[in-house]
């Protein structure tokens, strides 16, 4: 599944002097570059502004905050773009599968419109399910899945939207210990294999070690 060999070369995700303030107080400041396949971990206790930083990069910073600096993805300045045009795939603590859609419906909602035609789209969704060992789950109600299965569907849904970077907000913290390592390895492996720059925010040192990349601590 490799593409994006077009104009905008895969140079990675740059947070150019990104700084977020609330009523004049500096909340978070990061100046970093994440190469394709690299994972930058931002650590900090709750309230340290790490999720706010992630929201800023994704494009939905709450208007009570103000931010300076630029965000560049594969050479393109996305700072002023709305979230849907940034190409940032997102994974939260909760899988947030849409409860009114089937598993297949969720994946179909994520699947990039670049793949056209009913048969081709259907096949892409089935291939994604099969890829994570969930054949025959197409018509299932997401509410009936186990925690690990939900996390895998959420990951595939995001990957099917063909993101150019991944933003992870404590994505493993609600999984039980057994599932946790598996899902984490899967996410990191997929990101590396697809050459996606990853921004991970977490308060868990184990996540940070497993990421194996640079790490920034927010106070």
């Amino acid at each position: 599944m490799s593409d994006m060999d077009t104009a905008g070369a895969k140079t990675g995700l740059t947070l150019d002097k990104a700084e977020i303030t609330l009523n004049g107080d500096r909340l978070a400041a990061v100046d970093a570059h994440i190469s394709p396949g690299e994972i930058l971990t931002v650590m900090g206790p709750s309230g340290s502004g790490k999720s706010t930083l992630l929201a800023y990069v994704a494009g939905f910073l709450d208007p009570v905050f103000s931010a300076t600096g630029r965000i560049r993805l594969n050479g393109l300045d996305v700072t002023a773009l709305p979230p849907e045009r940034r190409g940032m795939g997102l994974l939260f603590q909760d899988p947030l599968l849409f409860p009114h859609l089937s598993v297949g419906g969720n994946l179909m909602f994520g699947l990039t419109p670049a793949i056209k035609g009913h048969a081709a789209r259907h096949q892409a969704v089935e291939a994604a399910l099969s890829y994570v060992g969930m054949d025959d789950f197409l018509d299932r109600d997401p509410a009936t899945l186990s925690g690990g299965q939900r996390a895998r569907v959420a990951l595939m849904r995001t990957l099917l939207s063909k993101p150019e970077a991944l933003l992870l907000d404590e994505p493993f913290s609600k999984l039980d210990t057994a599932r946790r390592g598996q899902v984490r390895d899967l996410v990191f492996a997929e990101a590396r294999q697809r050459g996606l720059p990853v921004l991970l925010v977490t308060h868990d040192a184990v996540d940070a070690r497993a990421a194996g990349g640079p790490c920034i601590e927010l106070a």
């Binding site: 849907e84 045009r85 409860p99 009114h100 419109p113 109600d141 849904r157 933003l167």
Partner: protein, 560 residues
């Protein structure tokens, strides 16, 4: 486009009220060229003052409004204070929406069937206990003090106040404060009144005002249960307006302004009452008494609350029974035989009023739901929060007496050649329907987990796709419930339908109320039962459609 929705909603709410008040004010001061009033004068007020029994009518309106509001509010507060968190309270929570959906007119007829001298309650104890071989010669329904009318209003305002309180309780963290007062040794009721009620009252103050304004100026319940010699002011304004002598239109307009003043006076008295009650509570509070022994009050609360629910439900059952009753002589408790004769005879004549009611109800509730969704979506996208001003605008049509601005609105519509048009009728229904739809929808709409929207945006979908494909389907149940609330409100509207419809759009409601003077219980039973069933049908659809669409989606089921 979306930016215009809040302004449009504001216009829908405020515009007709202001236009209507102006349209009443001009003729009240003698100006209505269409029927020869070309000079401003105080004449109409002079004629109004000369109307016999005017003061008594005003006094009735004021007293009925205040007493109804005090009693309904007291029962609701006492019940919440004494029974919150119990199983019985849970049962009442489930009953509140069905009770609220019963139109005022149907509930009033049901009450009349229950308490009339030849009604069910008297039959229950006659003649074996009372010795009454014939219906006693008391004026129970339409009594000159308005007691029956107050009872009819109270049983309908209780579910309304209970519902708005139930919505407010979680916001003010009532449960936690309840634990605090209990740990300080206060009894249930005292702890609630001292610790939670002040915050609760702030939240439900506007709805309480709406109850007061409604009860001081209601027409349909007054026609069915109210005093007749003389009737409350709003009924008399309607009579003057319908008088064949066109000159009486000026008196009616002056009466409409007087009604506005009477309702205003009622609100003023209430606000003084608020201050006095706050003083009294401060004194009681300072004594430090814990009010632990509140068993009697709790029993009283549950008795009154159950009685009010029973009256509405038993009334509906009696409507149904009368509509199929064969021979049913006094003092027989039940009819000798059952027959569908009345239904066969009445249904053909009721078809067109039923269709009118449904068409107006669906149009106004769908329009209201669309505007409410637009306003809420605008609020979400623009990141603005509603202001106090918006809240007052929302309640304005519920705080101004209907008769006061409908009378003038009729003048405005006539001038614009809109009187008797369906569009005018839907528009005026919208004024009353929209506030309830928005109030019903706002909380669940705002409580939606925003992260679903962020996730959908990150999956490269724009705001419109998020709205149509994620947020709307996820919130389909509350959206349809809000539409059903609007439909129920529309079905219940009597005065707006009568006055703006100009007699060309009879609905099941205007037909039912028109029967009040006649007194054929079988026809009343059938008509009022149909009126009560329409809102039920709306709620059944609102629950059934999502249940069917999402039958295989566990997380879409209502929380048990």
């Amino acid at each position: 486009m979306l930016r215009l929705v809040p302004a449009g909603a504001f216009l829908v709410l405020i515009g007709p009220v202001l236009a209507g008040l102006l349209g009443a004010a001009l003729p009240a001061f003698g100006y209505l060229p269409a029927i020869g009033g070309k000079n401003l004068s105080l004449g109409p007020f002079g004629d109004l003052a000369a109307m016999p029994g005017l003061l008594r009518s005003c006094g009735l309106s004021l007293a009925i409004g205040l007493i109804t509001t005090v009693i309904s509010y007291a029962i609701v507060v006492l019940f919440i204070a004494g029974w919150r968190g119990t199983r019985l309270f849970g049962a009442m929570e489930r009953l509140v929406s069905p009770l609220l959906s019963v139109p005022h007119a149907a509930a009033a007829f049901g009450l009349a069937f229950l308490i009339a001298p030849s009604g069910f309650l008297v039959r229950l104890v006659s003649p074996w206990l009372t010795g009454w071989d014939r219906p006693p010669d008391f004026l129970i329904v339409n009594d000159s003090l308005g007691l029956a009318m107050m009872a009819g209003l109270i049983v309908k305002e209780i579910p309304f106040l209970l519902l708005v309180s139930l919505a407010a309780l979680p916001q003010i963290r009532a449960a936690q404060f309840g634990h605090v007062t209990a740990s300080l040794g206060y009894g249930r009721i005292a702890g609630f009144v001292f610790g939670v009620l002040p915050a609760l009252y702030r939240q439900i103050r506007l709805p309480v005002f709406a109850v007061l304004a409604y009860a001081t100026s209601v027409v349909d319940v007054a026609l069915i249960l109210g005093p007749t010699t003389p009737p409350p002011l709003a009924v008399r304004v309607l009579q003057w307006q319908a008088d064949p002598d066109l000159a009486m239109r000026f008196v009616a307009a002056a009466g409409a302004l007087l009604q506005l003043a009477v309702t205003g006076l009622g609100l003023l008295v209430w606000v003084f009452g608020e201050k006095a009650t706050a003083r009294l509570c401060a004194v009681l509070y300072a004594t430090g008494r814990r009010g632990k022994d509140d068993k009697v009050w709790r029993r009283l609360a549950v008795t009154l609350m159950s009685a009010s629910a029973f009256i509405v439900l038993a009334g509906i059952a009696l409507l149904a029974l009368w509509s199929i009753a064969g021979l049913w002589r006094y003092p027989d408790l039940l009819p000798d035989s059952l027959t569908l004769g009345v239904w066969m005879r009445s249904l053909p004549g009721l078809t067109s009023p039923l269709i009118n009611a449904v068409v107006i109800g669906i149009s106004s509730s769908l329009a209201a739901t669309a505007i409410a969704l637009g306003a809420l979506e605008y609020e979400a996208r623009a990141g603005v929060t509603p202001t106090i001003r918006a809240l007052v605008a929302l309640y304005l049509p519920l705080l101004v007496p209907q008769i006061a601005f409908l009378l003038g609105l009729n003048v405005v519509f006539t001038w614009a050649y809109l009187d008797g048009r369906l569009v005018a009728l839907v528009l005026v229904h919208l004024v009353f329907v929209f506030p309830y739809v928005l109030l019903s929808l706002a909380d669940p709409w705002r409580a939606w987990d925003r992260r679903y929207g962020l996730m959908a945006r990150a999956l490269r979908h724009g705001p419109d796709a998020v709205f149509w494909r994620i947020r709307l389907p996820m919130l389909l149940r509350p959206v349809l419930t809000a539409a059903a609330v609007g439909f129920a409100v529309s079905i219940g509207l009597y005065l707006p339908t009568l006055m703006i419809g100009a007699g060309r759009w009879p609905t099941i409601t205007t037909e039912a109320v028109a029967l009040a003077a006649g007194g054929d219980r079988r026809v009343i039973g059938a008509t009022a039962l149909l009126q009560a069933l329409l809102p039920f049908a709306g709620f059944a659809l609102a629950l059934g459609i999502p249940a069917l669409l999402f039958r295989d989606r566990r997380a879409m089921r209502p929380a048990a």
